[in-house]
């Protein structure tokens, strides 16, 4: 038998045994909800809301075990472990979790996109009466159809035309409009916020004084570093002059500034990744396995 097969089998048996013992003795991975009756003022409609509560409140009369949320915790935990298993090597569990993730993400994005883009914006403006009687009862009764929205409808249909066997070029017109509009929108924003405003941000005093006339060395040094750093980095990206002599030396200092920036970015990235790892492990140990209880969700159980 292959070494990896032995390791996987042992891990599965040990992990499964632990889960059975843990679930049958202490309990684990259960979610509870409180049933709350919602009756909006001035409305004849009412419904029951399910608010998540801590397991320590499970004996309250209006608290129930929530099977959908409990199954959700177990699926999330098993998917997390399956994704972690890739660190050992590619395997069918990882492939399964990856496929579930891709499929559910695509499905979610499609459903939300259709609801928000098509129903909530396009159809609401084109057929407000129909939408009020079907999907969005909150639409104002006085709202009329806005025929201007025929333009995005037609552009959308043109975009979909590329799926047709003939006339694929029609989609390019819609695409051209979209690219042109986006480019114009972004150009303006970048010019205002990243060009003009950034130049303004760089025009700062190199010597900063306190109210009593004494020099603020810390702030002055900070401002000098900012201006000097921008100057040397700009020289590094200035390719119209050959980088030799004094220009070469200045651009080399620019490289150092850039390297320090990348180093800070790398440090931030490491911190971010560890935060995500500890977030996932905390979920496994707290919500799923009930090994820790940092926020006192199960006190008294």
């Amino acid at each position: 038998m292959k070494q990896s097969t032995i390791i996987w089998t042992a891990l599965m048996v040990l992990g499964g045994g632990f889960l059975i013992i843990r679930a049958s003795t202490v309990g684990m991975g259960q979610a509870y909800v409180r049933l709350v009756q919602v009756e909006p003022e001035g409305s004849t409609v009412s419904w029951t809301d399910r608010l998540g509560v801590d397991p320590k409140e499970q004996n309250d009369a209006d608290v129930r075990l929530s099977w959908p949320r409990t199954i959700g915790i177990w699926v999330a935990a098993l998917c997390t472990l399956s994704i972690f298993s890739f660190l050992y090597g590619d395997n069918p569990l990882y492939k399964l979790a990856e496929a579930v993730f891709v499929g559910s993400s695509a499905g979610y994005a499609m459903a939300v996109g259709f609801w928000d883009g098509m129903i909530n914006i396009l159809f609401r403006n084109l057929w407000p009466e129909l939408m009020r009687t079907t999907f969005i009862p909150g639409i104002d009764e006085t709202q009329d159809a806005n025929l201007l929205f025929l333009v995005p409808l037609i552009l959308g249909l043109m975009m979909l035309w590329r799926l047709a066997p003939v006339g694929g070029w029609i989609s390019r017109w819609a695409l051209a409009f979209f690219i042109g509009a986006t480019a114009g929108l972004r150009l303006l924003a970048y010019f205002q916020s990243d060009f003009v405003a950034q130049i303004q941000n760089t025009i700062i005093p190199l010597a900063v004084f306190f109210g009593d006339g004494s020099i603020d060395f810390a702030q002055s040094l900070k401002n000098i570093t900012i201006v000097f750093g921008i100057f040397v980095c700009t020289v590094y990206f200035f390719f119209s002059v050959e980088h030799k002599g004094i220009v070469g030396k200045v651009s080399r200092v620019g490289i150092w500034f850039l390297m320090i920036t990348f180093g800070a970015g790398f440090g931030y990235t490491v911190m971010g990744r560890i935060a995500l790892l500890s977030g996932r492990l905390e979920f496994l140990f707290d919500d799923w396995l009930w090994l820790i209880d940092p926020v006192g969700k199960r006190i008294g159980l």
Binding site: V112, D140, A189, Q192, S193, A197, I274, S278, P294, V295
Partner: protein, 284 residues
């Protein structure tokens, strides 16, 4: 010994990191935090607003960044609720709606005097990225005729007279990428001179620094800043000390410390191996 490390399977490193982080979480080790000036700036920006100010909370992240950003969103929500600010939740990310819901659950459980429609409103998600920001800064109701539950904004007291977001006293963005903090600076904060603070992932923090202080009052970068922010919140509102849920980021700093120590050790070890290998090659 060095020969052993030269050929070490990287999976041992993964296992070591897993064990170190897991041990820190299981022992629930916590360390004291000293808030940095940047974090204090962000805190003061919200704190100095008059009670009951209008704050737009744009939560542009998904579950993949939740571990890093949810503590910031929760801390912002708690501080705004303590100051009785009027909160307008919005997201440019489709998976951001459940993230908003987590913050709203804080209001429901810890600030029960907060009433939906009077003190806070959930505008939800609209597709369009920066186009959405562009529209809500000029005519919000052209895009948002109803809230996340389909209620007409004209029927909600908080949004009845809201024309656009230019009158907001502050924009608070918690963002994991694009569209996110950068787009809010470019399309809302800078052109309309709206005060803004941001909380971002570690990866997203460095590109935002050039916007400080004129275009952004301050940023919280990664879990460390979130932890310092929680500390500032605890110092200002000591009653939150009893609420362990308000110390989520502080809990995450224990694993951070041990993981960083391990990383530093591994970087030093890697360099020692590299230079000894090079010296051996030169001597041969």
């Amino acid at each position: 010994m060095l020969a052993f490390f030269e050929n070490l399977d990287r999976r041992w490193i993964f296992l070591l990191m897993f064990l170190v982080v897991a041990a820190a979480i299981l022992t629930q080790v916590k360390f004291p935090e000293k808030p940095s000036p940047m974090v204090r700036n962000v805190f003061r920006t919200i704190e100095d607003l008059p009670d009951g100010s209008s704050v737009l909370l744009a939560l542009d992240y998904d579950p993949a960044s939740e571990g890093e950003l949810q503590p910031m969103a929760s801390a912002f929500t708690r501080q705004c609720a303590k100051k009785k600010h009027k909160l307008f939740y919005i997201t440019l990310w489709a998976p951001g709606v459940p993230m908003i819901q987590r913050s709203i659950e804080i209001l429901k459980s810890e600030f029960q005097e907060y009433r939906y429609g009077q003190d806070y409103v959930n505008l939800g998600y609209r597709t369009g990225g920066e186009g959405v920001i562009k529209l809500v800064t000029s005519d919000l109701k052209r895009l948002y005729a109803n809230d996340v539950a389909g209620t007409n904004l004209d029927d909600i007291p908080l949004t009845r007279n809201l024309k656009n977001i230019q009158k907001m006293d502050l924009i608070v963005n918690v963002g994991a990428g694009s569209p996110g903090s950068k787009e809010w600076v470019q399309y809302a904060a800078t052109p309309y001179n709206i005060q803004m603070v941001a909380g971002t992932t570690g990866v997203g923090a460095p590109p935002l620094y050039p916007y400080i202080p004129n275009q952004l009052a301050g940023i919280l970068g990664a879990i460390k800043a979130a932890s310092e922010y929680e500390q500032t919140l605890l110092e200002r509102y000591p009653e939150l000390n009893e609420n362990e849920k308000a110390q989520e980021a502080k809990r995450r700093m224990g694993p951070q410390l041990v993981a960083h120590m391990l990383m530093i050790g591994l970087i030093i070890l890697g360099n020692v191996i590299h230079f000894s290998q090079r010296r051996r090659e030169i001597s041969q």
